[in-house]
């Protein structure tokens, strides 16, 4: 397909028919119906938001960041992760990983678009944001840097993907490298959004900006397993197996590092009983979201499975990656929620009130609908992409 000077290679049979003409296996039908349902939820959720505004959400004065922020972070982390995995091949030249580059870079575009779609309904005035971010930028604001850098990063990813489609590896490498660096900067600024908060001792400091990059890589690998599992329907050829086993080994190392980091974070958080930090850390340790979600599903199960199978069974790892992604979601949600757990002022502001202890929050139906809708949108875009573009490695180049 040609747009001006740009040549975008599409699959020859790309049409509505090819989108709808998937093999009608039970699993595929289930996926199709789920995606449609999620898109419907997106429409409903957005309509409710347009009528009621933020009152449709469960966010409060004490807990202004809710599920939608967590889901946004989830998507951009996935995007950065995809970018890192994709860069292994076409930027850094590791031959075993080139086969996934195109797919991964496309994944990074699709996930960040879904993330932007979700956050558009959380930011009160998205249009105003685009105007004033430009004419009145707050250069000391981590959110400004994150937003701006992600915008630049998306641009570079799209350009890189264009060059990958056109098999222009040299140009792809340049844009890929710069895009990766910009993406890493953007992502650590996202961590910095939390790291700069002096008012929140549990989040304040070096941990989030740095651990974000680590978890991005981990997420990228989880997602790579999942998309490859779908692509090959769990029937991997040798080349793919090499790729996946390599990724699994990297993943095990990364998960080990992550667990090491988390243990020390929790220990230094609790040590000495420092007010506003120690009790929050203890509260987190006792919460189901952390122990079952983050630790068990996000880290332990995949780590233990990969270790004990000695990286011999990539198909199993597709499943543990799904479990891992659930854990990753909890990681994002906990990040947002835990930052706001401790009330900033502990006194009663009204008579006949229980003294504030912990800030309570649960996502409202609208928030859940928009989040699932975002996921559905992401899956839809990816799927259309698989029909529109050839995401496999080009034969013989």
């Amino acid at each position: 397909m040609k747009i001006g000077p740009l040549n975008i290679p599409l699959k020859k049979d790309f049409s509505i028919k090819s989108i709808l003409g998937f093999e009608k296996t039970p699993l595929n039908m289930l996926m199709a119906v789920s995606v449609l349902a999620m898109l419907a939820m997106l429409v409903i959720g957005v309509s409710i938001y347009l009528v009621h505004g933020h009152h449709a959400y469960g966010v409060t004065r004490q807990h202004p960041w809710g599920l939608l922020i967590a889901v946004y972070i989830f998507f951009v982390v996935s995007s950065t992760g995809f970018c890192i995995v994709g860069s292994l091949g076409d930027v850094f030249g590791f031959k075993d990983y080139t086969m996934i580059s195109k797919r991964a870079i496309f994944g990074s575009i699709v996930t960040i678009l879904a993330g932007f779609a979700v956050i558009a309904f959380e930011i009160g005035h998205p249009v105003r944001m685009m105007i004033y971010n430009v004419i009145s930028p707050g250069l000391r604001s981590a959110i400004w840097w994150m937003g701006t850098l992600y915008g630049i990063y998306l641009t570079f990813m799209i350009v890189e993907f264009y060059f990958l489609l056109n098999n222009n590896m040299k140009k792809a490498k340049i844009f890929g490298l710069v895009g990766l660096l910009v993406g890493l900067a953007a992502h650590s600024n996202l961590g910095g959004v939390f790291g700069f908060l002096n008012a929140r001792p549990i989040s304040n400091g070096v941990f989030y900006p740095t651990y974000f990059i680590l978890t991005a890589f981990i997420t990228g690998i989880y997602l790579s397993f999942i998309i490859m599992g779908f692509r090959y329907k769990m029937n991997f050829n040798e080349k793919t197996k090499t790729l996946l086993i390599g990724l699994a080994k990297i993943q095990t190392l990364l998960l080990g590092i992550l667990m090491f980091f988390e243990i020390w974070k929790m220990m230094t958080g609790i040590y000495g009983g420092m007010p506003n930090r120690a009790e929050v850390a203890e509260h987190i340790l006792h919460s189901g979201g952390f122990m079952f979600g983050e630790v068990l599903m996000g880290m332990l199960i995949p780590f233990v499975v990969m270790l004990f199978t000695k990286w011999k069974s990539p198909t199993t790892y597709v499943w543990t990656s799904l479990i891992g992604m659930v854990g990753i979601f909890f990681m994002r949600y906990d990040l947002v929620h835990d930052t706001q757990l401790k009330p900033l002022q502990m006194m009663q502001t009204r008579m006949y009130q229980v003294s504030p202890e912990w800030v309570h929050y649960f996502p409202s139906a609208t928030e859940i609908m928009i989040s699932l809708g975002g996921l559905g949108l992401c899956i839809l875009l990816y799927y259309v992409g698989t029909r529109a573009f050839n995401l496999d490695e080009e034969e013989g180049h």
């Binding site: 004065r61 930028p137 707050g138 604001s141 908060l197 008012a199 009330p343 002022q345």
Partner: protein, 187 residues
């Protein structure tokens, strides 16, 4: 031009909420506890009846501290939060995109969302109401039955607040965070 702050003789406070009502009436603030610009905090008294710890029941008025190094001002992506010419921390609701970063960055729970403009709002030291009319007191100071509050120019060494801060011991909230609040609690 000026550098406004407020001194609070908080031991006078009887938790009557006159300041809260005056603030809302003067500045057209919406009703609701989550829409407080200013408030008086109280604790459940410690101890068991009749041996109660009187000091634990102290009342503490609080609000935006109009910090000299305000975290909310630093984290705002669009400069919607800014210092005006009197070093009062203000929110330009034309620029606010409601990213809520300032709400999380403020250590004092000073900010909330105004449902009408869907932007962040907080105490303005009555800058666009009383001060704009040339009055020298904020609504909360003016109405207080026990004269807790003294608002004034910290840069004017003749002002009453400067005299109070020179002659009486005082503390600020969460001073260790380096926000340099301009609200001083006289002890």
């Amino acid at each position: 031009m000026a550098r406004y702050g407020m001194a609070l003789d908080y031991k006078n406070c009887i938790n009557c909420k006159a300041c809260e009502v005056a603030c809302k009436e003067e500045n057209g603030v919406l009703l609701g506890a989550d829409k407080h610009r200013i408030w008086v905090g109280a604790n459940e008294v410690k101890g068991e009846w009749p041996l109660l710890d009187i000091a634990s029941a102290a009342f503490l008025p609080s609000q935006c501290q109009h910090c000299e190094e305000a975290p909310c001002q630093e984290v705002c992506p669009t400069h919607a939060t800014y210092y005006d010419e009197n070093h009062v921390v203000r929110v330009d609701s034309d620029k606010c995109i409601l990213c809520s970063y300032c709400m999380n960055a403020c250590p004092y729970d000073a900010r909330y969302v105004d449902d009408r403009t869907v932007t962040v709002d907080k105490c303005t030291f009555c800058s666009d109401t009383r001060l704009a009319r040339g009055e020298t007191t904020t609504a909360c100071q003016n109405t207080c039955p026990t004269k807790v509050r003294t608002f004034g120019d910290l840069d004017d060494y003749n002002s009453e607040i400067s005299e109070l801060l020179r002659t009486r011991e005082h503390f600020s909230l969460k001073a260790h965070l380096g926000t340099k609040p301009k609200l001083f609690y006289l002890t």
